[in-house]
């Protein structure tokens, strides 16, 4: 009887084991189905190249149709987009509207409006040297392009480059960031529904999937993110001679002069810093440089305006994004708790570890060798460095890697001129912060450590186009002087033509000295 009982128990155990095995097997199968590996990438690339070779993506009609469909995603799915952005980063509705949805809509509408003009060949003048001839520059797509997006503006930084790529007639693979998973799935879903899936694809995933993508041969890559991964992308691109645009970041400084409208300046600084994803933006003001005399006034004004913007308990304010995840949260806490800045926190810095929130923090007189001054903050901490004379700020900025943006608040014309002449950054903005990103006539991109290449507006179309030079010649007026056998007289003629001198040409033809 005992053995029967044991057998029964054993039977149940075995059944449970079998059940567990079956579950594991199903999981493995599911994994394999959804796994994006080398083989999936090859199949996908083959499809995209085939689509591209049909020529359909080159047609104006196809591009306009795709752009209109992309616009529909932004127009018809606002609530879902807001929800995803809130889930990913607790982004305030207002910021999601303004910085993501509306920027995409504007960008898309501009491309739709201007596409015909952008696609037209550009006629260029020719000179005596190639007379008679005519010449033009024709924009053609590169082919198959890869766009790797970031997590802080997951909607904007995915679709804005896609707009450019499609407007230029390419097929596209978009890899949204896995750190913003809700937006990533939303993009996969709606791009799948609205766009031509034989030409525009979304690959979700993390490092393994990105690595697989980077092994493929692309005709162009646009990467938004940090400089460490930027190097990896560039190195992978080198294997295939793929041209790359890198939109990176850096420590964007603000120089603040004393002779300004302090209230307006403070509000603009706060909007640009904490009003943009709570400091988690590539062009976020990272640190301020101001004079020792002026610093206290600036700090007071910032504190006052911060109170007006976010109230007594900013950790409870809905108008501030949270820190995206615990990795970054811990990184930022480390910056705050660095010994070298103890006693330097003059405002805020309260933390809510459960909700991953850090209250806007200002640190005054931070040493240049502190942690906070040696990496891009990318969070709600604002460091203030003080100097005796404002002119010293240029040396501070120029001794560091070139940032994506640099800001100056002043009414002093000479200071403005020196700033524009001496400071090298992706873009400069005087008396405001971050706005230059929204002006479509200005190229948006970095230099040095902050990146290479640029986009926005027509620059997006250009960045995803190969500009092919075309020369048309006729058979009339063929100068025998260009052919062998070479003689002294021919040399004279050649020199005259290349010098553009009609008189010399005349004399060469007639054989005059």
């Amino acid at each position: 009887m005992r053995s029967a009982y044991i057998n029964k128990e054993r039977e149940i155990e075995i059944e449970k084991e079998i059940e567990r095995e079956k579950e594991k097997e199903t999981e493995r199968e599911m994994d394999n189905d959804s796994k994006f590996d080398g083989e999936s990438a090859r199949v996908m690339m083959k499809e995209l190249r085939e689509t591209y070779s049909t020529g359909k993506t080159k047609s104006y009609e196809w591009r306009i149709c795709q752009l209109n469909n992309l616009l529909k995603i932004a127009e018809f799915h606002e609530p879902e987009i807001l929800q995803a952005l809130h889930s990913d980063i607790s982004k305030p509705e207002f910021e999601s509207f303004v910085h993501e949805i509306w920027l995409i809509k504007t960008s898309c509408k501009l491309a739709i409006k201007e596409l015909k003009r952008w696609m037209k060949p550009e006629k260029v003048g020719t000179t005596l040297v190639t007379f008679p001839s005519s010449a033009e520059i024709v924009a053609e797509p590169f082919g198959v392009v890869l766009i790797i997006s970031a997590w802080n503006y997951p909607f904007l930084l995915s679709l804005d480059p896609v707009i450019g790529a499609i407007a230029a007639g390419n097929t596209v693979v978009l890899k949204p960031s896995e750190v913003s998973p809700a937006t990533s799935s939303l993009l996969a879903k709606y791009i799948g529904e609205y766009m031509d899936s034989s030409a525009v694809k979304v690959v979700e995933g993390a490092i393994p999937e990105t690595s697989v993508l980077l092994e493929q041969k692309w005709d162009k890559i646009l990467y938004t993110g940090n400089s460490k991964v930027g190097r990896i992308v560039l190195a992978a691109a080198a294997k295939h001679l793929t041209p790359v645009v890198l939109e990176l970041g850096g420590k964007s400084p603000i120089i603040v002069d004393s002779d300004i409208d302090l209230k307006i300046a403070a509000r603009r600084i706060i909007s640009g810093k904490w009003g943009c994803n709570n400091g988690q933006a590539c062009i976020s003001p990272d640190y301020i440089i101001t004079t020792k005399d002026f610093a206290p006034k600036l700090v007071d004004s910032l504190k006052l305006q911060l109170l007006k913007f976010y109230g007594e308990e900013p950790l409870k304010s809905d108008d501030l994004s949270r820190v995206v995840n615990s990795n970054h949260f811990n990184r930022l806490i480390k910056l705050l708790d660095d010994d070298k800045v103890s006693g330097k926190i003059v405002h805020g810095g309260q933390r809510d570890i459960v909700n991953l929130k850090i209250a806007p923090a200002i640190l005054l007189d931070v040493p240049e060798d502190s942690l906070i001054m040696n990496e891009e903050i990318f969070g709600p901490l604002l460091a203030i460095v003080t100097v005796d004379r404002l002119e010293e700020s240029f040396n501070i900025i120029n001794s560091r890697p070139k940032p994506l943006a640099a800001y100056l608040f002043t009414n002093n014309k000479k200071l403005k001129e020196k700033f524009v002449g001496d400071v090298s950054a992706g873009g400069l903005l005087i008396n405001d912060t971050t706005l230059h990103l929204t002006v479509p006539t200005l190229p948006f991109g970095g230099v040095g450590e902050s990146g290479m290449g640029g986009y926005h507006g027509k620059f997006s179309f250009d960045t995803f186009s190969h500009k092919k030079a075309v020369m048309y010649r006729s058979y009339l007026g063929d100068a025998s002087e260009r052919y062998p056998p070479y003689t002294t007289r021919k040399l004279r003629f050649l020199k005259a033509v290349m010098n553009g001198s009609f008189l010399d040409i005349f004399r060469a033809i007639l054989g005059w000295p």
Binding site: F94, S133, I137, A469
Partner: protein, 482 residues
Amino acid sequence: MEELSRSVSELKQTFNTGRTRDVEWRKAQLKGIIKLLDENELQIFQALERDLGKHPVEAYRDEIGVIKKSARFTLSSIDKWVAPTKKQVPLLFYPSKGVVMPEPLGIVLIFSSWNFPFTLSLDPLIGAVSAGNTVVLKPSELAAECSAFLSKTIPLYLDCKAIKIIEGGVEVAEKLLQQKWDKIFYTGNARVARIVMSAASKHLTPVTLELGGKCPAIFGSLSDGDMKVAIKRIASGKWGPCSGQACVGIDYILVEHQHASKLIDLLKKTIKKFYGENMGSLKNLCKIVNKHHFNRLHNLLEDPAVAASIVYGGSLDEQNLFIEPTILLDPPVDAVIMVEEIFGPFLPIITLDDIHESIEFINSREKPLTIYAFTKDESFKKQILAETSSGSVTFNDTFVLNACDNLPFGGVGESGFGRYHGKYSFDTFSHEKAVLERTFYFELEGRHPPWNDFKLQFIRLAYNYDYFGLVLLLLGLKRKFT
């Protein structure tokens, strides 16, 4: 290595003084280049003759003349190029000013090539200095006399604390690539280009790669008169530039069966007229640059099927490194001569049933630096433009496109990326910095937190540039969301 680091430090220091940003400094360098060419024409001819057997006419046409023209064009345009370009800013941001301002990148590295050792050194140099950078130029060691000449002479005419010539081979190139540059400009082949780009990636250095490829010439139907001119242009475009050792040299011809024999006959006559009747009387032709390339080219003809397809030429002079102009008719398309860039005086002719098949033929290969098409058929021209991809396209001629300062010169795909010539040279060595200037007047309160419905409505209208709606909203006359 230490000396190299010292040179780079010196260049950084020079750059930091701001001297190279001054337009007068830049103009002085450009004038210096013109003076160098004017005062040393004979020595340059000699160096090119010794390194490549280049005839003075070819040397002037492809090197001295090109650089002088480029320098003069830059001199006459530079004031315009350095000026900030005003950009329109939306009314919403009034009052604001937007400009794009070109600024130098800093310290740039230029790798030149051996086939046009002056042009490919000094033309990029013109771009780099006109944009205000300091420069290291590494000429190719395979054109040793030209490299030595540049190293000795440039310091006599240009600012030697801002422009340095570093001679050497692979080892020196590797050491240079370990330094951090603000830009690298490389002319050469795709294999080394990958090494350059890979090294550049460690420092996030932007690069321009001017490579090559198999540049085809599509030969359509032409009248007799036009055909004669076309053949002259093909011959001078194939063997004229450095005996076929040119990135934009014609690599192979595509022609319909029915025209092939006429094409070949005319080519033979033209070759004899331009370059000599036979191997013994070759003239107006460069030699092959060195033993290594000579052997490489020789090996291309060792393939029996390729040798069997030779219809003209094929003789080689190993001692003097000369190879006569050689025409091949329909060598196998999978032979090495049809797979790799020839970079020499062999001209395969591939025959097709219909000339329109040339498009598929070209597209089944890597994108070349340039495509030549000899045709007057307008719809065929459009088809070639729309359905093939290359750095550039020239209709009814060869080589002249490079002389047009208003056209960008550069490749795509395996033939490279980036471009230069004319203003494109200036641009390629500049960072185009966006500058937006605002004032403290007229603050839009709607842009600041705390957020509310009014502000949201305000922003919606503002972002649509719906100024009328904005006015209504501000007057309290607009309430509904749109």
